[in-house]
Subunit: 417 residues, 2 copies
């Protein structure tokens, strides 16, 4: 089965929006054995859309179209496809009811343009959009399929996962693929590759595919079999070997996140957690709270960005601040220890560092970060340097701190800490 | 002049790499009046590349090709283009010398594959790559131009800026384009469209392009002129009309962000700010701190996720918590008022709500959010409902709170508050 993506929108062509929809679709399709042969991006123009669909149908069985389904005048995809497939619009009642409920829930008036979103082509299967008002559409012509979805990423993803993939699996014969992904934190891509060199040679010799998928502060490792689920056990066994060797780096699999993994550990251990943050300014707490149900273990945090609040709210001593500075082992440990008492939690993480771009010195250049973790028994702290990018420093500090506290709670010791 | 982009690389199709080259090219081209009419992404296959070039030459005067110029076996763009343009390879001495110098400088051995990178088609103009070993190529056929560049972003950007744009400006007559973007918060796309309907009709009648660019919680409005900078004043005037009518929604232009705009206002007013957060769990503080230099006005925050900490840290009364619940006007106002004192700031924002997915009730369904803003003089609060997605609830609360405090500081009143 060959598929391709047709992305519609001027904002993509002029580079105002990056086409992350195409890369997400490429990833998800390749996972289940759908080969994407082309991605085409064009502007919201009727003639261009029709020509692009013609061309796509010459190459591919399935065309995934994103964009141009909004309620405003420049959104013409629905009208164009209706013409292309020689259909006409009619009100789709379930969609109208959904739209009415959507606005009623939000206590907002429904406009004429919103009602018009419920007018959909007769000749298509309607794909429910649980996240917005623009329904997806599934057109079939001869043996070709065209699927139209809104360009808003979370709406498109919802429709793909809930409506499109199930139908594709039902109606097409797909290549048997099996993938498993493990998630690592703490080693950059090239260091990780060096550390697992012999393991990598083994899995490649066994005819499995290995991909490194790096993102800031993390590397995902994906093993793929082209003989499908048959090699599942073998892949699991290869990963178990890695997990035994590097428990300090490997924190989860597939859709796990560091905060969700940490949350499960805290719930299992009936432990609570809090943070006292300086340079991360709430980013660490935000990350912990991103997990649904985190109120079971997260009580709260104190963000002490200024030295005054470090003294006033978590009783860091003026002495330590003067002698060692805010970015120091002494201060970050006091923040964690005192914060643990004040917040009444089992574990307290604290951060203090120079996120940049200003504020660096010879002794403490931009990127110098201290992280401390206090438990009832003791306090542990460690210094890092993540470079000179402010955003990246904050992000790396958050991921590193979450992974450190995970290791501490689980009693995992690395050679370095 | 019409141009298009041809991106070559399997890693783009399977979504391992996001096509940021295409968006950068789109931005830079549209700035100088080159209209990108299509972006096409295909895999490293000879036949596909030739077909894609054929198709592109039917549509466009200039085809910008990225990718497939590396030294490894899967990089076939150069060989394919050499065949396509009926040329042959020969060693290009300046490029060979550059490659030799490149490896000498890095004290790394030069391999056979690297020498082969100096073999370039006779029938093209060589575009110097100052950042790597793969030269760019400029092919002319009849009145069409094809430019081939490596896919490594900073190499491609260097060649575009230093070699390609100067030649294009010299050889083509470009349309004069001018864009201006304003940023809005607080109205969804369709409500915004409804609110500015008459204005939209006017700008369209004046022959200007208008685009709505929505992202969660925000809509960007872009006006475009195809007569270039000549209509700059006119576009500014149209936007001034909108700003005067909707100061509560319009917070900035172009690359502004709500936290950066708020930061400038706070600095101008010599004001400080802090937050007391429940449902946003640090997301609001994180957003404020995302701005470099925010320590000038951000002191810190108190995150009171649990009721216990609401009482203990910011002295919310047990009475209010029992009578009205944590998600109530009474509690959120107490949080803001007491937090302002404790943090010693001019403005304090507080949040309390049901982010979901659990915790909703008949009376307070998931998505019910209270935001309060306390200043020395008074406290203002407002209830919202942002729907049932946890992540979106947190994001919407942050953007709404930042825009509300912006309006309060500037003394902007909307009909609703």
């Amino acid at each position: 089965m060959r598929a391709e993506i047709l992305s519609i929108g001027d904002e993509l062509l002029i580079g105002q929006t990056i086409n992350t929809n195409a890369s997400w679709l490429g990833q998800e399709c390749s996972k289940i054995g759908i080969q994407i042969v082309q991605v085409t991006t064009i502007s919201d123009e009727k003639q261009l859309i029709k020509e692009a669909v013609d061309a796509a149908f010459l190459r591919s069985d399935v065309v995934l179209v994103t964009g141009g389904l909004g309620p405003t005048k420049d959104d013409i995809t629905k009208y164009t496809l209706c013409e292309y497939f020689d259909s006409e619009l009619e009100v789709h009642l379930p969609t109208l009811q959904k739209i009415e409920a959507f606005f009623a829930e939000r206590k907002r008036p429904m406009l004429e343009v919103n009602i018009r979103q419920a007018e959909l082509p007769k000749k298509c299967e309607i794909l429910e959009n649980r996240y917005g008002t623009a329904a997806g559409m599934w057109f079939t012509q001869n043996d070709r399929v065209l699927i139209s979805m809104p360009g808003v990423p979370y709406e498109m993803k919802g429709i793909m996962l809930e409506e499109v993939f199930p139908r594709i699996k039902e109606r097409f014969v797909l290549k048997a693929m099996y993938h498993k992904t493990i998630l690592t934190q703490g080693l950059g891509e090239s260091f990780l590759a060096e550390a697992i060199k012999d393991w990598e040679n083994e899995v490649r010799a066994a005819g499995l595919g290995l991909a490194y998928l790096p993102s800031p502060g993390m590397v995902k490792l994906r093993l793929s079999s082209y003989q499908g689920i048959a090699r599942k056990e073998e892949i699991n066994a290869y990963f178990t070997v890695l997990e035994d060797r590097f428990p300090q780096y490997i924190y989860g699999t597939e859709e796990d996140t560091l905060p969700s993994v940490l949350g499960k550990i805290l719930i299992n251990n009936k432990n609570t957690i809090g943070t006292v943050e300086s340079c991360t300014g709430g980013a660490l707490a935000k990350s912990i709270v991103s997990v649904a149900g985190s109120s079971a273990y997260f009580q709260g945090s104190i963000l002490t960005y200024s030295n005054d609040l470090k003294k006033k709210l978590v009783h860091v001593s003026s002495d330590n601040l003067e002698k060692f500075g805010a970015v120091s082992q002494q201060v970050v440990e006091q923040m964690a220890v005192n914060g643990r008492e004040l917040l009444g939690v089992d574990w307290c993480i604290s951060t203090s560092g120079v996120a940049g771009p200003e504020g660096g010195s010879e002794e403490k250049p931009v990127g110098t970060i201290w992280i401390a973790i206090a438990s009832k028994e003791k306090v542990f702290s460690k210094q890092f340097n993540f470079g000179n990018n402010r955003e990246r420093n904050i992000e790396m500090t958050v991921l590193t701190a979450l992974n450190l506290v995970r290791c501490k709670i689980l009693g995992i010791l690395s050679e370095k800490n």
